[in-house]
Amino acid sequence: MSHEPNSPIERGALSPCWSCKGPVIQRALFCSTCAAVQGPGVVDHFTRLGMPRSFDVDMVTLDHNYFDLQRRLHPDRFSGRTARERALSQSQAVAVNDAYETLKDPLKRAAYMLSLEGRKVDIHGTATIDDPELLMEAMEMREALAEAETRAAIDKVAARAEAQVLTCQCALSTAFGHRDLDRAGALTTRLKYLGKLAEEARARKSRLIRPVA
């Protein structure tokens, strides 16, 4: 090629379309010349869904943007097209689903925001709790749940856990707002355990009315 191979524009902004070989702006979903669908590229979840990078996600906008993207990128839109287009549409839809699932859920969102800042919070594993206050709380609530025999008693524990979850989410919003990442990290761990308790309470509730299969 005749142009400067190391020009920043070439590296950062334009790449050839796989179909018509013309220039396509990176991050573009479709080629502006031949309309061919492009690959998903590497971009953070907020950018992908057109959301501002903030813990406070407006769910209505999130859903709206998600549906809009899937309307254009979902494999159902590419039935009868070339194998390459179908594969690209699938990877686009996968990327959009991944971004949506992460941003939709407060716990995943918080962990993801921390990972963008180079901090790791394990939200899947069973790391030990080193926050004594959280430890006490979790033990106490688990006991209350174990002792709850009636639907009403379980409902009470569940309601308490869910209220705690909401309080924790508000605190997370403040922490991220102040860019207090240490606090955000601690709150994310807390949210993980509170979420688990709320889930256990819900499961307990359905087991109460669910006959043993």
Binding site: M1, S2, H3, S7, I9, A13, L14, P16, C17, S19, C20, K21, G22, P23, I25, Q26, R27, A28, L29, F30, C31, S32, T33, C34, A35, A36, V37, T47, G50, N65, F67, Q70, R71, R72, H74, P75, D76, R77, F78, S79, G80, R81, T82, A83, R84, Q90, A93, V94, N97, D98, Y100, E101, R202, A203, K205, S206, I209, R210, P211, A213
Partner: protein, 629 residues
């Protein structure tokens, strides 16, 4: 420079209409239905008598003929050993799975088969469930072709949402054997929601309660302006209206044993009892009691049954569906009062107790203004139309069951949890547990249980060539990808060396490629022609995509070419178009390669121009936003 924003679908590929019709097929346990949608209202395709249901029953006559539908069901009494019904219950099942069901199934299993897919003994033949399903699909295809007066070669086929990967793959194989290209496998409740929602402009959270002959599905969907987003789904792939019949039949047989003082029940008695039970179930939907007779070997018995007794017999099963409803509400973190409407699907939802329990569970009367037998096929037809003619509706479905890998001690490590929107691809890292371990067995399972042996085994494969390392040093990333049909592909990669393996999960109880190929050979001769045609069609689609791309480029950047260069490109385009008229796939490929060569310089000049104009001040960021949002 002008940037038009194209939407896929705005520039449809030409020559799409030279294909046959695309239909929607509800391939049910008891009955199947086929429907079509072409612009106007979707329509169920019926026989001369106006009957839309095709009994999913196949009769393999002594003269080699295969009869499907009502005639086959009538043959059940005279030739019970030559008739196969309810084969859907065996799709994707292994011999081991079915042993537990033995006796409750209306067919004879081939005992010779050890491991692998179930085989049925039908007269002198041994058939797989895939072949029987293919015969049913052929009959459905023939009905559709007769009704439409043109060939039908593509379809959306519905499957229970709770069908596992093996059963989905088996359904796709059956369609392939029948010469039908599967445009998409769609979950039955999702198809029903689409038919209902589009017809009623429904908005909000809806539940679809689908109780068919052999399967139960419950899905919660959000419907909004043509978007059908499944929030959670659950069910039981082995619970259906057939179980109601069995409960009644057992009740009758217990009475008969006592009255005749008999110890054992013959299979003829069991079959008669089952037939009587089916009639009883239907009668008790509208009447409060009745009497039925079983007569075998000249020994008649009379059985009366009232609705209360009937309901007591089936209550445990209905309770189980209600428990599953509760579980799905929990998964979606929704309360019954959040649900705006409940759509009933499947013939078994006509049973009054089912309607009452559903109404109690949701605190509202279910919607009854749809035909529960036909709504799934109608939804499938709408989706077939959307996929072939384009549309604004969008189905966003989820994984019904968690997918994972067996790890040390038989514990399952989940890779994709249930209720994830599809398509989805997620990875998980695993490591070796012995020093110098060079291979690793991967066992892919599906299900919610913690132990692998309690989940459904989907596939086993070995990742070999792991370089010698200390235990725990290798990093093996296993990626599960589920496509929009709900089918899984697994790939594994050792991160430090890049050793890679991809397996498209041919389920443990599926057909191998060899078996599939030999079945294609044995079945209609033109099944193979269909395959060749499909490959040719794909080549043409690709060739036309190239011509279209060059055409768009010429429209924008034609001034970059000398008249001579332009003539060369035009000639290369003409060559591709000419090749596409023929049937030589290699010639098409050669012409496409020729076009690529002819436009190489042109492409480079276009890139240069793009970069120059970007450098000359067009803000790339704003363009990116415009295109990317």
């Amino acid at each position: 420079m002008m940037f038009d924003i194209y939407e896929p679908g705005e520039s449809p590929l030409p020559h799409q209409s030279d294909r046959g019709a695309a239909v929607g097929i509800d391939l049910g346990t008891t009955n199947s239905v086929v429907a079509v949608s072409t612009g106007d209202k979707p329509e169920v395709l019926r026989d001369e008598d106006g009957e839309g249901l095709v009994p999913s029953v196949a009769y393999y006559a002594e003269d080699g003929a295969v009869v499907v539908g009502a005639k086959a069901r009538r043959a059940l009494l005279d030739h019970p050993d030559r008739v196969v019904a309810s084969v859907k219950r065996l799709m994707g099942r292994g011999v081991g799975d079915v042993k537990a069901l033995a006796g409750t199934l209306p067919f004879t299993l081939d005992q010779a088969a050890e491991g692998g897919m179930v085989r049925l003994r039908v007269g002198e033949r041994v058939l797989t469930p895939v072949e029987v399903s293919a015969d049913i699909l052929r009959a459905i295809k023939a009905r559709a072709e007769a009704a439409l007066g043109k060939p039908v070669d593509r379809a959306v086929i519905t499957v229970p949402a709770y069908f596992d990967d093996g059963a989905r793959a088996a359904t796709k194989d059956a369609a392939r054997l029948a010469g039908i290209e599967v445009l998409r496998l769609v979950n039955e409740p999702t198809a029903a929601a689409m038919a209902y929602g589009l017809d009623n402009a429904a908005e909000g959270l809806y539940a679809v309660y689908d109780l068919g002959g052999g399967t139960f599905d419950i899905s919660l969907l959000r419907m909004e302006k043509g978007v059908f987003q499944v929030r959670a789904t659950g069910g039981d792939a082995a619970l259906g209206g057939d179980d109601f019949d069995h409960a009644i039949a057992e009740h009758f047989l217990a009475e008969r044993r006592i009255r005749l003082g008999e110890e054992t029940i013959t299979s003829a008695e069991a079959k008669q009892a089952l037939a009587a039970a089916r009639v009883a179930k239907e009668c008790l939907t509208s009447r409060s009691s009745g009497e039925w007779f079983i007569e075998v070997d000249g020994k008649p018995t009379r059985h009366s049954l009232d609705r209360d007794t009937f309901e007591a017999l089936i209550a445990p099963m209905v309770d189980r569906t209600v428990a599953l409803v509760q579980g799905v509400l929990d998964d979606a973190e929704a309360l019954p009062e959040d649900v705006k409407g409940v759509v009933l699907v499947g013939g078994s939802t006509r049973v009054p107790l089912v309607r009452r329990r559903v109404a109690e569970a949701f605190g509202r009367e279910p919607l009854a203004n749809i035909n529960p037998d036909e709504v799934v096929a109608v939804g499938a037809a709408l989706q077939a139309e959307a996929l072939t003619a384009g549309s604004d509706t969008l189905l966003l479905d989820v994984t019904p069951l968690s997918l994972g890998i067996e790890t040390m001690g038989g514990i399952v490590e989940k890779v994709i949890p249930r209720n994830q929107p599809i398509p989805v691809a997620l990875g998980q890292e695993f490591t070796t547990y012995q020093d110098g371990q060079s291979a690793m067995m991967m066992h892919v399972v599906q299900g919610e249980r913690e132990m692998a042996d309690q989940c459904r085994s989907l596939a086993r494969f070995v990742l070999s060539g792991i370089p010698a390392m200390a235990a725990g040093a290798a990093r093996i990333r296993v990626t599960f990808a589920v496509d929009a049909d709900g089918l899984l592909t697994v790939s594994a990669r050792e991160q430090t060396t890049g050793v890679e393996q991809e397996v498209s999960v041919k389920p443990s109880y599926g057909l191998t490629e060899d078996e599939m190929a030999s079945m294609l050979r044995d079945s209609m001769a033109h099944a193979r022609e269909d395959m060749t045609l499909r490959v040719l069609t794909e080549s043409r689609v690709e060739a036309r995509r190239s011509v279209l791309a060059v055409g768009s480029a010429l429209k924008v950047d034609h001034d970059l070419l000398s008249p001579e260069e332009r003539r060369a490109i035009d000639a290369a385009i003409a060559a591709v178009e000419a090749a596409c008229q023929g049937t030589d796939r290699e010639a098409i490929q050669a012409a496409v390669d020729g076009l690529e060569d002819a436009t190489k310089d042109f492409a480079e000049r276009r890139m240069d121009r793009g970069i120059r104009s970007a450098l000359s001040g067009v803000s790339v960021d704003t363009l990116g936003d415009k295109l990317g949002s």
